[in-house]
Each structure stands twice: as C-alpha cells, then as structure tokens.
Amino acid sequence: MTAPLLEVRKLIKSFPGVRALKGVSLSLGRGELLAVIGENGAGKSTLMKILAGVQRPDSGEIALDGTTVELRNVHDSLRAGIALIHQELNLADNLDVAANIFLGREPLKGGLIDTARMRREARQFLEAVGLVVDPATLVSTLTIGHQQLVEIAKALSVNARVLIMDEPTSSLSSHEAENLFKVIRDLRSRGVSLVYVSHRLGEVRALADRVTVLRDGENAGNLEKTEIDHSRMVKLMVGRDLSQFYPHVPRKPGEVVLKVERLQTRAHPRHALSFEVRAGEIVGVAGLVGAGRTELLEALFGVLPAVGGVMRIGGCALAPRSPKEAIAAGLALVPEDRKKQGVILEMAVRENLCLARLRRDQRFGFLSPTGMARLSADMVAALRIKTPHDRQVVQFLSGGNQQKVVLGKWLALKPKVLLLDEPTRGVDIGAKQEIYRLMEELADQGVAILFVSSEMEEILGMSDRALVLHEGRLAGELARGALSEEAVMHLATGSERLAA
C-alpha cells in the first residue's frame, strides 16, 4: 500500500469552554473519496477548518505526501493544494464568474487586470466542472448549484489536490445534487482526492470509498467501502443503537394547541401553509436549506411577520407582529443562531435566564433581584446547566450549556407552544441527549413542540410526525410510521413533482 496523500495525526483543538477535537486522526489516499460523518458538534467543521488553514490546531500533525506541513493560514493550505468549499459559499456575488475564480490571483498586463486572459482561462476550468456559462456572468445571477460549481472551478484553478466539501448538497435540489455527484465522480477519476462532509447518509453510501466517523471530538471508527451501510454509520455516530439514543416514546396527543391556517411567510408568499400541532405532540420540520423552515418559525414567532394567514392558539386567532405578541400568546422560540439570537453572550447566566420574564416579575418597573435569583437557581438546577455560578458570563459556557440557558429562558415562561430551530446544533452528545429528554418531558406536560432540524436522524428519531418543506411549499406530511430517510428526501428535493 502506498503512503496516503494526506495524513492527519492526533489533532487537538480547544476553544474557550470547549474541547472541539481531542486527538483526531484520518488519512486520505490519492483519488479517494473519504466521507467524514458525525452528529452536530462531533468536530467535523473544526477539523475541516484546520485543514483549510482557517484555524490552527493546538497540537497534532498534518502530513502531505509523507512530509509534515504547517498550515498557518488559508494561503498555506492553498499552496499545499488543499481547498475547502464551505457550506455557505464564499463568492463575491457582485463580481463575475472569472473574477471570482481568479480572486487575489488576477493575471496582470502592465499593472492592470488582463480581463481577456482571465476569462479565457476561466472557461477552461468551467469546462472541467461541466458548467456552461459565460465567464462574464455576474455570480449573483447564478443558481446555488451553479455557484457551487464555480467554487469547485476556483479550487481546480489553484491546482487543488485535496478538495474538502462541507455539506455540499444542503441547499441543492435533487437534480442539482445529481449533477454535483457526476462532477465529483469525474474529479475523482482524474486523481483528485476528496473529503466529503455530509449529514445525508444515503449520499455517503452512494459516493464514498471509505468513511471516517467522528463523535464528540474523537475518532469513533472507520468503515471500508464494503462495510458502509446505514445502521453501521449511525451506530458509530451516536455510539449505541439508535433506539436507545433517541428517548422518544409516542404518546397519545391531546387537543389541537396550534392551528396554522393559510400562513404566507415573507420569504415564500406564494405558498400558504396549513397544519396543526397537538398538545404533547412533537412535530419535526424537514427540508433543504432555503426551503423556508426557519422563515416558517420566524413568521409564527412574529420576528418576520407573516404576510397572510392566521394561527390559532387554543382557539384565539392571532398574527403576531413582534416576538412580544407571540410570547404573550404562549409561544417560545429557541432560534437557529444561538450566539446571535439566543443568548446575550456578554451577560451572566442569571441575566439571560430572566430576560424574557422581566416584564412578568417587575414591581412597578423595577427589577426584583430576589425573584431573579430564585428563578435562575431553579432553572440552573432543573436543566442541569453546568456553570460555576449563575453570575458566570454565558460566553464561557460550552455550546450545550448555552443552549440550555436559551431553553431555560423560555421554560420560565411556561409556553404552550415551543418552537425549536436546530436545537442541537453545535452541542456535544451529552447535552444533546439532555435536550431530547427535555423535549420529551415538556411533551409529557402537554406542550406542543415544533422543531426544525437538518439532521435526518434527529427528524426520524424525535418526531411523532414530520412536515417536509420544499421551496417554501408544504410538500407533505409524514406520520411516524411512514417516516424514513428516503421518504423525507423524496419530498424535500421536490422529486414527487418531477415524477408527477
């Protein structure tokens, strides 16, 4: 066996309050497609960022062609032939395709950009990824799928030998994804090595030569081509059988608590959404990135007020214009971006936990320090928030504990409907299970829960029922019995329309 092209040995990386990588290793052969999988918070993104030179490891080695290299910045990585294609594309969409491909390396003539040559050369890289567009096209006018191909062309133009793709299909339609797979197979046949990060196990099974599984910042195991199957991957990802990992027990749902009638979100006003959630029911919302899942929750919560339709909570019709109104009606939202929308990082645990309840606990506009202290102590105990004391600034807690602070803030209000947007993103496995258990407890108490997740296993494991969105439309509803990865993807990628 020849020496691997890329070898990573015992990488360790810590962030304030969390150890993201605890000694991760992997190796990648020439012309090989290695899939790296793991749950949220397993350390995939950190590992990829280190390879791309975006972050530097605390310790550990990276070797290319058997010689140790030091990747101090993105420039070093590119020179070594490692290019990362990030989940959120990094293109300057005010510039044209050629300018993006050669950004920072523009060919010059007499000190000025040689546009003609740049476009000529760009065409050749576009051909390599099978993208037929004029290099003078503005990037903002391209579809997401095409923009991604531009990114790949850009990587090829720097002679990338190792191409890292982070969740490349998370915003692609099924047709675009198929096209991408073709390009990926073609690149591999031409000797390019790929590291492919994905949540979609179906994709991984179809593409990968080998799978490396991460769990909680450590190697959980490797699977060779012949060993790759769904249950093995999941077992390595969660460290046990799936049935044990998700504590969900279907319970008899109560009355309808939340009834949504012909709701039109601002992002997708063409589609009216109608559905209900019952007391004690946990409903998952699945779909691709850009399908309008977050927008749906934000419309319900009044962050981006809906442009049409109403919802009923316990019979009262309302169309909230602000979170304040939604909260008054009994809604709570754990938002997608914890650090920007969920917590106030620089404030203490106690202040964060009490923030939503200040209005209820006020005494003629004044704070009630004893009430706040009591509430905070109750929540820290009930949610088992790990913090030295509740005066600790939230910034220094781990992701999982920060998320518990967000949950605590809302549980203090005893909501009737709990909306959760990617509740376990960036959270370690222990905290994750606690969040699931908490969802179960709340459902037992009769709270109606609607949660959005990009993690297929989470949707399959935790929902009594799943709503699947496709480009803003409610593509379908799947009862627990009908839930499967295939069924969800079928609806999420809009395939049922193509078939029809």
Binding site: V343, R359, F366
Partner: protein
C-alpha cells in the same frame, strides 16, 4: 468597579500634578468654576450615555445646546415670552429632536451616525438663521432665573468654597439615570439590546421603543444642559456656542468605561470621566501658556486610556477562558 477605580486614580493624579504645577488650581474661585463646568458637562454626558448604551451615537448634542442656548434668550428678550413658556418650548423642542432621531433610526433604519450628523448641521444652522448670527443674551435681566446655573450653595464647615447650583441638577439626573439603568427592567432592556439587539428582540423586548427612548433622553438632557450653559454665561454666540460639546460628552463617557459597541455603562464612571476632561482642560490653561494644544493633549490622553483599557480587557478574557477550560477538563 475596577474601571472606576482606574479612572479615579487617573483623576487624582492629574489633580495632584496640576496642583503642584500651579498655585491657582486649588484657589476657591478656580475650584468652583471647575466643579460648575463639570456639573454642566456631566448632564449632557449622562444623556449621551443612554445612546451609547444602545450601541448608537449622538453627534447633534453641541448643536442642540446651541439651539436651546440661543433659543431661550431669543424667546425671552426678543419675543417677550414668559419664562415658563420659553423653558417648556425649548425643552419640548429638544425632546422632539430626540424623538425624530429615534424614529428615523428605528423605523427607517438609518444609521445613528448619519442621522445625528445631519442634526449637528441642521440645528446649528437653524439657530444661526433665527438669530441672524447675532449674539443673544439676557443682559442685566432674568437674574433670578440665572441663579439656577450661577447660584451657590454654602456648605457648612467649609470656607472659601461653595457648591455651584448645577451640581444639584447633576446629582438628581445622575441618581435617576443610575437607578433607571441598574434597577428597572427598562434599564436592563437597554443593556441587553446594546449587547445584542437581535437576541433582545427574540426575547420579547420592544427594542425599537427602547432605542427611541434613549435618543429622547440624550437630546432632552442636551437641551437641559444648553439651558444651564446659557444661564451660566449670560449670552450665546450662535456660531460657536456648544461647539464640540458632543465630543466632550462622548469622550467623557468612553473614559468613564462605556463601550461604543454598546451594552456597557456606569453613570458614576461617566461623571468621573467628565471631571477628568475638565481638569485636563483646566490644567492646560493654568500650566501651559499655550491654550492651542488643548485638543492634542485631550486626544492623546483619551487614546492612551482606551488602549490601556483594551489591553487589560484582552488579558482578562484570556485568563477567564483558560480558567473555564481548566474547570471543564478538570470536571470531566
């Protein structure tokens, strides 16, 4: 608290140095004047603190001072308005200006810098317009009204120094502001939205209303400051009355521990910061023979203060992060 201690020490050092270099620094007349100026500037600094807490900025303060400083004597002497009517009018205009700023910033989403920069040009221009660039003043009249700013309160057991009347106003304003910021839910809302407006809004806080309130407070206190300033000096020249006052106020707030990123402020710190600014100006007049380097010295001192603060903060964050990590791994 550490910040207040730091700036207090700095204030004490500057006072000592000046006292040693100049005999007249500790004279009753100079001290009284110094304290009076500190009180007047303190009021507008407390005002701008509310805007800075939200992460915004108010550049129009000096022009509001000018508008009120010219408007009050103009209404009283040129138009014969009664004192209560004139005072209500100028204070109403000030509050209205703040309301306008707040609405433009929250509803139209204009940037605070742009809105209040336009205000800076606009209000001074208006004052110069209606006064026709002529100095307006009280002359020998309105003596009793002027005692609001020029009056003195004799302190028991202390000879040769009387507390200037504006201190009473500063005291009331500062105590009210401190209670508002630290003890009411609305103060907590302001601090929260200054740190992270989105998270505050997601927590059900009406962030727009709170932001508008901050601009109203800033302009109203600027107007009140302008009223006291003109009562103190008796007349106002529209061309330069209140010039650069917004910068003195912002600088005092920054020296006093406010972050222009928002969410951080102590009223006591702001007042000590104001005092430091005034003592520095006083020192330059007394110690050097060159008044014209005032801005250079003040600029340098603030810059050094801010750099020192940032370095200390970085050190503290690194130490805390290391400690948090040690706990995490120790506990696991």
């Amino acid at each position: 608290m550490k910040k207040i201690l730091g700036i207090s020490i700095l204030l004490a050092v500057v006072c000592m140095v000046t006292a040693m270099a100049s005999d007249s620094f500790l004279s009753g007349y100079n001290l009284e004047n110094l304290v009076r100026r500190t009180a007047l500037f303190g009021i507008i600094s407390v005002g701008v603190t509310f805007v800075i807490v939200t992460g915004g900025i108010d550049l129009s303060i000096g022009s509001v001072v000018c508008l009120v400083g010219c408007g009050l004597p103009w209404l009283l002497t040129k138009h014969g308005w009664s004192v209560p009517a004139a005072v209500i009018a100028v204070m109403g205009v000030s509050a209205g200006i703040g309301l306008g700023h707040g609405l433009l910033i929250t509803k139209l989403k204009l940037q605070p810098f742009v809105v209040t920069l336009c205000g800076l040009l606009l209000y001074r221009g208006i004052a110069r317009g209606f006064t026709n660039d002529q100095t307006v003043g009280f002359g020998m009249e309105f003596r009793s009204l002027r005692t609001l700013a020029t009056g003195q309160i004799k302190l028991p057991f202390i000879d040769g120094f009387a507390l200037p009347a504006p201190w009473v106003f500063l005291f009331v304003v500062a105590v009210a502001a401190a209670i508002f910021l630290n003890r009411t839910i609305y103060g907590r809302y302001l601090l929260a939205l200054g740190r992270n407006e989105e998270a505050a809004r997601y927590s059900g806080i009406n962030t727009e209303r709170m932001t508008i309130l901050a601009y109203v407070i800033s302009s109203t206190l600027a107007g009140f400051g302008g009223l006291l300033f003109v009562l103190d000096v008796n007349s106002a020249q529209p061309v330069d009355f209140g010039n650069f006052y917004e910068l003195y106020a912002i600088a005092a707030a920054v020296l006093g521990g406010c972050s222009l990123r928002g969410g951080e402020a102590t009223i006591l710190g702001v007042i000590i910061g104001t005092a430091l600014m005034q003592v520095l100006r006083n020192m330059i007049t007394l110690v050097t023979t060159r008044n014209n380097i005032e801005f250079a010295i003040i600029g340098a001192v603030i810059l050094i203060g801010v750099i020192a603060d940032e370095l200390v903060k970085r050190y503290a964050v690194r130490r805390r992060a290391a400690r948090a990590l040690a706990q995490e791994t120790g506990g696991a």
